[in-house]
Symmetry: C2
Subunit: 77 residues, 2 copies
Amino acid sequence: MEKSIFYHAGCPVCLSAEHDIVNLIGSDNVELVHIGKDRSRILEAEKAGVQSVPALLTPNGNVLHINFGASIADVKG
Amino acid sequence: MEKSIFYHAGCPVCLSAEHDIVNLIGSDNVELVHIGKDRSRILEAEKAGVQSVPALLTPNGNVLHINFGASIADVKG
């Protein structure tokens, strides 16, 4: 299976969701991307349809927005 | 691993998320509950902390609210 990508911004709700996602689907199956630190990935996330973080981009291209941490606009600042 | 529980209300965004979740964690690892039809489960969902559907209750008791389909209040009508 191709990897999913978990986009987050280091906020508490992001980290809590990250732990749950890693527990559920396994750390080998998901790449963790901190778009607050790795800002070069913000555009990629936006193009994939990520509107807020934390969000999980599935291997088939769907975006699951999980809870509500921060909007992409907020992360861009 | 104990099962997760995916609460939904049959809305299109719910069904899309359901397919993604089943693909990611496997149908054996998640119970699917349609609280629009199985209304006896609404109170259980509320007690678990579900505020909107679709939502995934993880085995450790955390609730991941996924996207935004319908509030519990809307499902109760």
